[in-house]
Symmetry: C2
Subunit: 381 residues, 2 copies
């Protein structure tokens, strides 16, 4: 039995104010091609189909179109769950109809832990859920963390599970462990949000979504497929792929990864403005990529973004790396990532990421008033 | 062939800050009962299934539940179109799957004007569309009004329509004409938004949605079913029903109306505060209705809303009718409907209608700043 494991499509995603819909459409076209070639027995999507609970209508139409092609036109069963970015309730609309054609969509966690069985393989589908939701659902007050919630859910599954059969877990969670999880990751993602990899031991394969890199953990049978595309510059060096998983008799698993190639890559480049604009050095084929540019120039530059965009039309972010003698002279457009930001700065970042407008001083004044108003109200309570 | 004609469910509707979901659930329970008793060959919903393009999740779940009951459990075909309150794209998700069980959902107008045929009756389903959308879709620059758009669409339908068969139009539009349309209505709704009733002459029956009263027009075969519930006090005196339509051989139509009874009615009452609170006069069975109260007292009253709500918990709106000797002494809480309101007043009304919070002076200051900011920006442009 062969299925494709994918996750984290994040349809409707905006990256630095740019909708990724065209890129998503392109890689999903490739995805459909792979389904046509491979003729898998199922496609498994482990959560975050959309980027937000109310995605833009273009994303809704794209998801509808792609899933219809796979499920109805190519007659391929689909197993999908909601991730933390999806609205469980909104995503669930129509799910009871979809089953008739073998599209099993689980938006909201409920008491029904029975698996979806396809060609002798049982898929246990557990959408993302906060510990509080699981606590209430199972009536177990001891559940406080994601770890405890997942343990309780898997306990429930095991009560009815036939261990002689081939069992696959489909989930959307922050799983740690395996051969990776270097100190940095443990530090940055550690805590109550994490779930230990050992919990998934009862399953022959665990198809995860949530972390965007297929290398997030290294384990033979507990795996992230990785996201459809690079969705931030921190993912610039990650490879993006889908996994073709074959479940053999007796539970042996073989995995093949297939790379998806976006029309425009997401990359980080650096150099002086002159170097970057030098025609002999521009890789024209890649000039349309989404870029984060770090300028190494030392002096003042006049409107470097406009100059860069004449050559690289999709520069999304511009940083300057300046080794200053006096740190206090640090310029405005130096990265402020490590500085402590106030509410207004945070909103300003959010605004410019989510829209294509600039955050004018007029808008700033309005926002400042609102923030102060809210603070005042909070203080008065 | 017998079908039920309904429209304007407006799931997710807020009336004066109160969600109507519980009331909607109750009348939809009655609706399902009627479907069980009548065993119609189809249920036709002529638009505005939701109250807004992004309805609350409770509304999404309620619609899913009711349509599944009717379509899959009771095996009754459903014909539904989007109204102006629905998001055509969002509502369309899954529509291609739903067809398999005879649920025909048309969210977005497209070039396909072929009817849905059920037991020998052809249903031409035309979701709400702005004239500009129809103009672009048909490539006809002369389309400027709803009248012209509808005329062009019906022209397209007639090109392929078999007039020997029984043909039903399902639409969501502002239709005028017939035996009613008194001067007041013509005055208030007239203009480019309207569509003439004569356009629907080619059809044996026209199932409309948009106007909330089944008496909005009086015509034997072009009809509004009316909304599911009373959705504003201007509808307090309207009757609410669904229509059971029987199409006989040769195109003869018989119609039976069935009333839906909400748990709480929506009514207007008036009297002095003392009269209204007099225990001997309170109709206890109806005390939980949604009320608009007009007080006839002449003097000052201390917190009349609190006193009224002790007896009538669901007072949504309070007016005072005072015949003043000096009009200038008109009190603050007299109806301000006829006065010219500024942006802040309009927002304040909106805020109190849409939330259950009061519009504090703190919030007022914030809003005033925003309004001034926007005005300034507009002036500068």
């Amino acid at each position: 039995m062969k299925f494709i494991h994918t996750a984290d499509w994040h349809l409707g995603k905006l990256v630095h104010g740019v909708y990724m819909t065209a890129e998503q459409r392109e890689v999903l076209r490739q995805f459909v091609e792979i389904v046509e070639q491979e003729k898998p027995d199922a496609v498994v999507i482990a959560g975050d189909l959309y980027d937000r609970s109310v995605p833009p209508t273009e994303a809704v139409e794209l998801l509808n179109e792609i899933l219809f092609k796979i499920n109805v036109e190519l007659k391929t069963p689909i197993v999908a769950i909601a991730g933390n970015h999806d609205s469980a309730e909104r995503l669930s609309f129509g799910a009871s109809w979809f089953q008739h054609s073998g599209f099993y969509l689980k938006g909201k966690l409920d008491q029904d832990f029975a698996p979806v069985s396809i060609k002798g393989v049982n898929f246990y589908c557990i959408p993302y859920a906060e510990p509080g939701v699981v606590r209430e659902l199972l009536g177990d007050d001891s559940i406080q963390s994601h770890q405890e919630a997942m343990k309780a859910i898997i306990g429930k599954i095991e009560e009815e599970m036939n261990k002689e059969e081939i069992n696959v877990f489909v989930g959307h969670a922050f799983v740690l462990g395996g051969q990776t999880s270097d100190s940095e990751r443990t530090l940055s993602v550690g805590g109550s949000g994490c779930v230990s990899i050992d919990l998934f031991a009862p399953f022959h394969y665990t198809a995860l979504g949530h972390l965007h890199s297929p290398d997030a953990i290294r384990h033979e049978t507990v795996r992230y497929s990785g996201s459809l595309l690079k969705y931030s510059f921190s993912e610039a060096k990650q490879r993006k792929s889908i996994s073709i998983v074959e479940m053999k008799e007796g539970g042996e698993v073989t995995i093949e990864e297939r790379t998806l190639i976006p029309k425009r890559d997401m990359r980080e480049i650096e150099g002086t403005l002159e170097e970057l604009l030098d025609p002999s050095r521009v890789e024209t084929e890649q000039a349309e990529d989404y870029l984060k540019v770090t300028l190494l120039d030392k002096g003042a530059l006049i409107d470097p973004m406009s100059k860069l965009r004449q050559v690289y039309p999709n520069v999304l972010h511009l940083d300057r790396k300046i080794e200053l003698i006096d740190q206090k002279k640090k310029q405005n457009y130096t990265s402020v990532r490590d500085e402590k930001k106030n509410e207004l700065d945070l909103f300003s970042d959010f605004y410019t990421q989510m829209t294509t407008d600039s955050f004018t001083s007029e808008k700033k004044d309005i926002m400042e008033n609102i923030i102060q108003g809210v603070k005042l109200e909070v203080e008065q309570k």
